[in-house]
């Protein structure tokens, strides 16, 4: 504690001095005064990275800290457009199969290597190799036929066939310095794995914290950032605090400057207090939904699937579980992705217990047992929701219980919930012996939809409804093979109506979101445009 106090005092002294110096130079002063150089920041985060290699790390919750070190070819705009970053521009050939990126010529990795076309090519070819990237090699990179450097600054990526989401993937791949691939740390990540970012990994204490220092040579921020040149902060520490109440307490007692992951109960506390700032952003990708198994148990019958969706008043459930701090979801992807999300589906279904009971009567679930559940031929109407224990977060266990209560009360459906370990989860997924799996994911540009709705054997690796209607494959193939955004929007809109309203493959519940609460001293905290994850510490500064 002494140590913390001490560093705070030291930091405060630094601010005082640098504020004096900079107030004379900085013309574009914000309402809170000009940004202050220097200082150190402590950020309480929920999730510890499994690996610090951004290619192998699949945890969205840890991207905020990896992004301090690793950068991408293009940045995204709020509405999903692309802006220069490490690349000054890109071109797509007329046949849609060749992507050419032109690189900046002034970028160096923190180990001193220059960012050139060969370095970028190394990243793409390495990622294609399953010996390096494991299962990531079967993702979007598998569409890549060849990557080559045309000259020092030009990278050409050619695809096997047109794949619309490719630009999202290629422009968003974190570029690692070529020398890193020879390090023994390459898979776990570490100080030898370097990037071009505004901070440099200094120290990682497993189970405790990760510490970054400023990269003084940094000069290539994208135009989405609020300033140019090196980061304001001298250093930033991310401390791992997995309990949300502990994070909140650490913030209120001044032991950390900001936290991410604020529970619905604590959100009001920070939002309504002028001593703190609070902001949240909806995630991208498929919302948290119950995927209803079309190949096993009662949910094979579309009437049962529709009945479950009709039975439950999701708005009321969300209000009681999250105190109104979460947003209702309606479709197959997040409303953030305005290029692909058809909002006309909102409020067009659900909360109709009468319809629900009619459907169940029609489906033959007419009798009731002693506990009030519907039965057919002596069998209870049971839908088993399988949820991996490791992914229970954000009070989803409470949410599922609330759904369970409503399903019983409104329609006599027995919604049982099984929390299982990763091994059992894998087995149940593989055998398809489950009533429903609850899941969300975050890829953008339709990749999220492909994973959930392509047939299992054809890329639908998390197709938990196990739906294989030929329409799905047709629409998804057509959408992926055109670069015409209007056409893609229409195709996904049709798929959305089909999947949610006609077939009830999925029951969308809520949009997961990220939250940041910070002491009022912390300035410049934001979410990434479009991808909506918390932004790196580049623009963050501490006012006096």
């Amino acid at each position: 504690m002494d140590l913390i106090k001490h560093s705070f005092r030291l930091a405060a002294a630094t601010f005082a001095v640098s504020a004096l110096v900079f107030s004379t130079f900085n013309a574009n002063a914000a309402a809170d005064g000009p940004p202050v150089q220097g200082g150190s920041l402590i950020w309480g985060v929920e999730t510890e990275p499994a690996t610090l290699n951004p290619h192998l790390n699949g945890q969205d919750k840890t991207k905020l800290l990896l992004r301090n070190v690793f950068e991408t070819l293009l940045a995204r705009t709020k509405d999903g457009g692309y802006l220069p970053w490490l690349a000054t521009g890109y071109k797509i050939s007329d046949d849609g199969k060749t992507y050419t990126f032109t690189l900046r010529d002034d970028v160096t990795f923190s180990n001193g290597e220059k960012l050139d076309a060969a370095a970028v090519v190394t990243n793409f070819t390495k990622l294609k190799d399953p010996a390096y990237s494991g299962s990531a090699s079967s993702g979007p990179v598998s569409r890549l036929a060849d990557a080559k450097a045309l000259d020092e600054r030009t990278v050409e990526l050619s695809l096997k066939e047109v794949y619309a989401p490719f630009l999202d993937f290629a422009s968003g791949l974190e570029i690692i310095s070529p020398a890193s691939f020879a390090s023994p740390q390459i898979k776990s990540g570490g100080t030898e794995i370097t990037g071009t970012g505004p901070f440099i990994l200094d120290r990682y204490a497993k189970g405790q914290e990760i510490h970054f220092v400023k990269n003084p040579k940094y000069q290539w921020a994208p135009s989405t950032a609020a300033h140019r040149g090196p980061a304001y902060l001298d250093e930033v520490t991310y401390r791992f605090l997995s309990e949300s109440s502990v994070r909140a307490g650490a913030l209120t007692s001044g032991q950390v400057n900001l936290i991410e992951g604020v529970s619905g109960n604590d959100a009001g506390l920070f939002r309504d207090d002028p001593e703190y700032s609070y902001q949240s952003a909806l995630n991208t990708g498929t919302p948290y939904s119950l995927f209803l198994n079309t190949t096993f148990g009662p949910t094979q019958d579309v009437k049962v699937r529709k009945a479950l969706i009709a039975a439950i008043d999701v708005d009321a459930v969300l209000k009681s579980v999250y105190r109104g701090e979460r947003t209702r979801a309606w479709g197959i992807t997040s409303p953030v992705d305005t290029q692909l999300y058809d909002a006309s589906i909102e409020k067009s279904y659900g909360n109709d217990p009468q319809l629900s009971n009619q459907l169940l009567d029609q489906a033959g679930w007419t009798a009731r047992d002693a506990d009030g559940y519907r039965t057919r031929d002596g069998q209870r109407l049971t839908i088993e929701v399988v949820q991996a224990q490791a992914t229970v977060r954000d009070q989803r266990d409470v949410l599922l219980q609330a759904l369970q209560a409503q399903a019983k009360q409104k329609a006599g459906i027995d919604l049982t919930i099984s929390y299982v370990d990763a091994g059992t989860y894998t087995d149940r997924r593989a055998t398809g012996k489950f009533g429903s799996i609850a899941n969300s994911n975050t890829p953008t540009d339709g990749i999220d939809i492909e994973y959930h709705y392509l047939p299992i054997k054809q890329g639908g690796s998390i197709n938990y409804s196990r739906a294989s209607a030929p329409e799905l494959l047709g629409w998804l193939r057509a959408a992926a093979s055109t670069l015409d955004q209007k056409k893609r929007f229409d195709l996904y809109a049709r798929l959305q109506r089909f999947a949610i309203i006609d077939q009830a493959y999925a029951f969308p519940l809520y949009e997961p979101e990220d939250q940041i609460a910070a002491s009022s001293q912390v300035q410049g905290v934001s979410f990434r445009p479009f991808k909506q994850l918390p932004e790196s510490a580049y623009d963050v500064w501490l006012s006096k």
């Binding site: 192998l56 399953p130 494991g134 079967s138 990763a422 998390i462």
Partner: protein, 333 residues
């Protein structure tokens, strides 16, 4: 763990001219016996963990593929990388061979070297559990000595102990944090940096153990205070506290030591929750994540290290009996 049952001590011959020699002999034979049985315990821990993880649901290759598309190339690469294409018995023997050479392999999930992972996390956990043990012993001895045989203090202490025993350590940790860290700002919330960051975690982990031991110790003290020797000591004019501390505590401590030895194992598993609440590094979270993710190399290494700790602890408990009770030292083995 086999702990010698102190109930047999009454049958042992008392006093002997060659007490010291026998004591040494007994000590060494016990240590040697312990090392031998310790090795067997370690081997059993490895083998059982290996077998149970094979039996547990979930194919490791599928697990490592995760949400991605499982293509044959990916599966082959994963099998090759982790040596999963060998028959199980070969994988098992190869593993035994490697750990004999100090190589615990690489974590499937964390992708890092298991030996350095475990070593980096072992020390914070040992610090936490030892500090918790100190808390438990200090609490138990103080509470028992001060309240044994005294009507009202005894009732109050028993009530407090009952509350502590039945308080989940998760909740106790949050309450301690709320009061002493968030409100009074006396101790830091998280990490493993200095002594002050150890205080609250040690209290939240150690108090409930202390409460259990205290009840047993008090009972023992009360029995000892009824013994004729207590009257003798009193007649010497000793103060009540001296009687309790210097004479009765030793008699009362045998069952308490046995119990503590057993419960220390519980401290190791209780450390999981404490580490999580306090954001401390340690084996606890590593273990839980490894088991949930079926991260075989980590689980096996944790099994070996925890078995090692158990063996060392139970040996220490056995040795402690010898020091506490002179009658045990003369026992022929």
């Amino acid at each position: 763990m086999t702990l010698d049952n102190p109930a047999f001590i009454d049958e042992l011959p008392l006093g002997s001219p060659s007490r010291i020699v026998r004591f040494r002999h007994s000590l060494w034979s016990r240590v040697l016996g312990r090392v031998g049985s310790g090795v067997v315990v370690l081997w059993a821990a490895v083998t059982l963990s290996f077998a149970s993880l094979q039996i547990a649901p979930g194919n490791i290759v599928n697990l490592l593929v995760g949400d991605q598309l499982p293509t044959p190339e990916v599966e082959a690469a994963i099998r090759a990388e982790w040596g999963l294409d060998e028959p199980l018995i070969v994988q098992y023997l190869r593993y035994l061979w490697r750990i004999l050479h100090g190589d615990f392999g690489r974590s499937y999930v964390l992708q890092s070297d298991v030996t350095s992972l475990i070593l980096s996390q072992l020390w914070p956990t040992l610090k936490l559990t030892s500090a918790a043990l100190v808390v438990a012993i200090v609490f138990a001895v103080t509470a028992a000595v001060l309240t044994a045989g005294r009507r009202w203090p005894r009732r109050l202490a028993s009530a407090a102990e009952l509350v502590l025993v039945s308080t989940p350590s998760f909740w106790l940790g949050i309450v301690l944090l709320f009061v002493f860290s968030f409100t009074l700002k006396l101790f830091p919330v998280a990490g493993d940096k200095n002594f002050s960051s150890l205080v609250l975690p040690a209290l939240s982990l150690g108090l409930s153990l202390g409460a259990v031991v205290s009840q047993v110790l008090r009972q023992g003290l009360e029995n000892a205070l009824e013994e004729p020797f207590a009257l003798t000591v009193r007649s010497w004019g000793c103060s009540d506290l001296t009687l309790r501390l210097r004479h009765c505590l030793r008699h009362a401590s045998l069952p308490a030591v046995t119990l503590t030895g057993w419960l220390v194992g519980g401290l190791l598993s209780g450390a999981v929750i404490t580490e999580q609440v306090f954001g401390r590094p340690g084996l606890g979270k590593v273990t839980v994540d490894a088991v949930l993710g079926k991260d075989l190399p980590v689980v096996l290494a944790v099994a070996i290290f925890s078995a090692l700790i158990y063996v060392v602890l139970s040996t220490l408990v056995d040795l402690l009996y010898l020091f506490l009770d002179p009658r045990l030292r003369t026992r022929n083995r």
